[in-house]
Subunit: 369 residues, 4 copies
């Protein structure tokens, strides 16, 4: 197998024109799509409907080629969209495909390997609880197998989109006598991320086995996965899991690297990832290197202490602009400064995903032949 990764700019949340053309021309093969991951125009919060809007628009494009109705498409292809392109970021989506073998890499080189799956839809009351942790853990293990990644240490990124509930669905769950894990939509959205993150960590042995992890959600921030990148949104009904790593069984020229970010100013982590891929930013990637860079993923969050390297930040006290919008704008610019690229998957809400107050950065690049 070999992976193919292709980015499409979004002029608006339902902009599928270039994608439809690529499908029509055979440049994208609908049956080989492993996942579509993107950043849409919305605020990235509970009332961000641009994620669902793009899901609907892409489903309509793929319905014919896949011979499914639009709703069934979204149950087959993981559409993992995160809203919020603050500051210099640019709305886009990236299509990940698994194709038949290509040119074999030089001996011993591992190449980008990937696979995706959906867990069973959780009951509303299971979101943000142990049941979600366990479902994600089992799903991640299965996806690693499916991708043919033989060593857990070769997993570089586990992207999960988890479900959450709007206020009305939370009230309905309470009325049924099986209340959701929180009665606040924002909090539940965070709990869904946290549960999925610890699910990834459990699958990869990054946290102690046998623990009841639910009790640690949001509390034991020293428990985390180094490779989890989690979003949640009302537009999905189950956990959508995509695993990426490097594996000997894959061919082509793509590879993935990743590093934890210690805090929101950890520029060194970005350089570490770029260096691992043979990309040189002195101080910024030039056009050739930028052309080789196929995808960048960043997760981060405002340090909960209200301080960053000893200085106060104001992100968590701001009633006008959600902290997620602050941190995405900041991390997006930090990454864009180094890479010269603004089509970056930058996402907030990094609880249990990398060190507390930090997060992770990962990138996929084309390696020299």
């Amino acid at each position: 197998m070999q992976a193919r990764v292709r980015r499409f700019a979004l002029a608006h949340p339902a902009d599928t024109e270039a994608f439809a053309r690529a499908v029509a021309e055979g440049a994208v093969d609908p049956r080989r799509i492993v996942a579509v991951i993107g950043k849409t125009h919305g605020n990235g919060l509970v009332n961000d409907y641009t994620r669902g809007h793009l899901t609907l628009a892409l489903s309509l494009v793929l319905a014919g080629p896949l011979d499914l109705d639009a709703r069934a498409v979204a149950r087959r292809v993981p559409f993992i969209f995160s809203g919020g392109v603050e500051g210099v970021l640019s709305p886009h989506f990236t299509v990940f495909e698994a194709l038949p073998d290509g040119a074999p890499p030089k001996a011993g080189a591992k190449r980008l390997a990937l696979a995706s799956l959906f867990t069973d839809p959780p009951a509303p009351e299971d979101i943000g609880r142990q049941a979600q942790i366990d479902a994600v853990a089992a799903g991640v293990r299965a996806a690693i197998d499916k991708a043919g990644i033989e060593q857990a240490g070769d997993v570089r990124l586990v992207q999960v989109k988890g479900p959450c509930l709007a206020a009305r669905e939370i009230a309905e769950a309470a009325a049924r006598g099986r209340p959701a894990a929180s009665d606040n939509p924002d909090t539940l959205m965070a709990l869904s991320r946290m549960a999925a993150a610890l699910g990834v960590a459990k699958a990869l042995g990054e946290v102690p086995a046998g623990d009841c992890l639910e009790a640690h959600l949001g509390a034991r921030r020293d428990l985390f996965s180094r490779v989890a990148s989690i979003s949640s949104g009302v537009e999905v009904e189950t956990n959508e899991i995509v695993v990426m790593g490097n594996a000997a069984g894959w061919s082509g020229r793509l590879a993935i690297a990743q590093a934890p970010m210690a805090d929101a100013l950890d520029v060194q982590a970005v350089h570490t990832v770029l260096d691992a891929l043979g990309l040189s930013a002195r101080p910024q990637l030039g056009p050739a290197d930028r052309g080789r860079l196929k995808a960048v993923f960043v997760k981060g969050e405002p340090d909960r202490s209200g301080r960053l390297r000893g200085r106060a930040h104001t992100m968590l006290n701001d009633g006008d602009m959600n902290a997620q919008r602050h941190i995405r704008a900041a991390l997006g610019a930090l990454l864009a400064g180094v890479t010269g690229e603004t089509e970056l998957f930058v996402s907030g809400g990094a609880e249990h995903q990398g060190p507390d107050g930090g997060g992770l950065v990962a990138a996929i690049a084309e390696m020299p032949a």
Copy 2:
């Protein structure tokens, strides 16, 4: 003369505790303050009252030592505050003093020179018009003289805080039959910045002489000053001007450097400024260099084309989060990534201040003895 530059963190918009202690202990000399420049907690827009709040709090601290009432303090000391510490930025203010001569620099070295003044208060209808351009131009020329900067080419930063009007004052001006330059408070706030910027450019000969510049406000973006950094706000009633440059007549160890930024990702400009001050960011300033960095000023704005290096950005279409908040968050993180410092004066609204879609970066550092 020698300049002294000292930063104070702001735990809240009226946090003058450390400053009051510094005054009491003689570490700041109220009679020698040339300007106080800072970033406060607010949104940096028309309804940002944190700028006035800090002005009131600082005026109360200085009233006794200066033997003035609080209102008179604010007419003597330029308090130039810009709201908006989005993302990783940290609220703070910097006190600039002009002290008697210190150790002479090595032969031929020029050192940080500065001076400030207030123009006469403009009539409401003069804001954002030729009258403001001319008043600022005359003020800048006088301040350059006052600072003893002999060559216009040695001016590195002209910081101006211009007046603007809230909706009610705009309506009152219209009712008097002398309408303001715009009936929209946000637009007038921008016109005040633009007029002050072209005033600086006129004083420094950066735009053709003899022109009626008012007609070009906001239109001829190819007309700009390379050293202007302008804010406006309802809390000031006149143009407050601070000129900084390097001059032979000044002693001590501080120097200032500056460069235009071509766009919001122009990391090279930041390195150019740091290099000029002998600071090395590979990729980020280390603690020693960061200790030498005394102040950083950045102006920038979202590219009006809706694109940045060919990619769409969403800053100008966002009805929830003002474009200024987007760009400050982005530029703040870009600068903080390189410097490792978050107490930065980052301000949006860079019309006619540096290249269109870009802006400027300036820094003050302690030079080797």
Copy 3:
């Protein structure tokens, strides 16, 4: 002919479940739909994509029954959506149909008459200019004829959705050498509303004939239509016009009434409209009367003087929450207080639609048999 008016709640911006069922069961006849008018979940500003999202979802439902593809549906049926359901307002849409004759009303009674049409798509540079005024005026005249409303004085509401441009399209227009009427997306959105409003006023003879009205857009607020209700949005490409009034040639039990609102507190105007329809709010409509109320339309805007009945308001100075969101929340609650109903079409941006600082209120109710 007789009009049928039916409301559907929106659980999310693509919630067409109940509508699809109604179509399947024959409770709505797709071929007889004159217009669909609704309030969606977004912010009602330039980056509100929920209007387009609902348009796409409804088009998909109607594509089969109308034997058109989704895009063609939106060119046949006016979908007029306004974002922003602040405060107590509830997202919903209302389907207006023109059916064959029903029970004749008592002698002399006029009944709800309606018709819709699309103008030709304007060039980008024509939006907010005289060309749009004239196109709307011609369209309104044609729609009045089509509805069979014989006297202009019987027109009660002309709902128009006009086109506007995002930042990028504005920049493209400028690059083509035919710049849009404003380079600011928000301003252009307002100009599109203003031009359509004066177009309505021109068609109905409410403004002096022969005038070049473009020069008065936003300036001569004494020029207005008493029956215009205008929205604009990037999701439409032409002027979509719906005319409603009472006419002798229509049967059934529905009628429409309308009154200008003098300011945002003009509760008397609401009672005037309800009284005209035989509805009694003392102080609030009871369940029976509320059941007879089929649709309510309100347009209004923050008084540009910054004052309302002598007191300052803060809507126009707020950099965090757009003035439109303020006024919709306020007018929505004012109307909901009187009617006890929250599925109301409340829309800001009432320039040239009713008295300056005020707006209009209209309602459709079922009359006694």
Copy 4:
């Protein structure tokens, strides 16, 4: 004793000009001020500094006359400010004084009685916990005695401003090993309101005695006070309590009435209160009645079910505009529609203050002689 109540408009958050003049002219007697209650320009959330700004400005005016320094003024006079004047609301503050006896009311009439006090400053970890409930309960009992209100049933309004913490102070409390009741500033702000509300309810016997109420904060919404109106903010360090009712021992012409609001559309409750004061709104108060209306207090909140009278509202899912801003805009307009007045104290966050999903309305008016 007799109460005096006087309102001052706020042109900006530090606008004390008219107040200072009133003090200078003897129209307000600083030594007789019981409380100052007002609505300021900010967002009413954690980062609303306009409350502290006005507190500072008023303290400076009163410092001379009270012969205290500004900080001591704020420890003597309760300044209870709530930010957020959304929609039609107008920023203002109301000064409540207790003067020597005036003209006795007609036999048997009870007149407005009031008193205020401060509790001891709570430890950070006590905010939003049983300790705060008990401190407020004891304070309310003492203030009722002080006001000479003999029957608990004559208490009409207990206004409390409670303390809360910004993110940094929350982190500091955690670092000291005594964590605050929540690590989220918004949540803690709500817990402070809830604890104060149940403290009022406990003092008035509205909830079962002997209960550990802390466990019910936010959960048992059937437990509430019918007269509590609570705000919290980082600008106060203790619970500031103001009790108002009608009592036989007071003279003058002012009286207070109050009613619970069942939900956000309970217009009948407003009429009940106005009727009790002999004011007639048919449909809106006329100028004479409006002149007699001295103060209006409203507390309310978005129904947590996500529904209002069976219809969905969007307030709790909105990531751009805080739910408090939604509900204040709505309730403010509802009340302004009935009273014709926009200087209203409308405040969100009504947990345990009136029925769940509703709140309370209270008004003070001048009674016929």
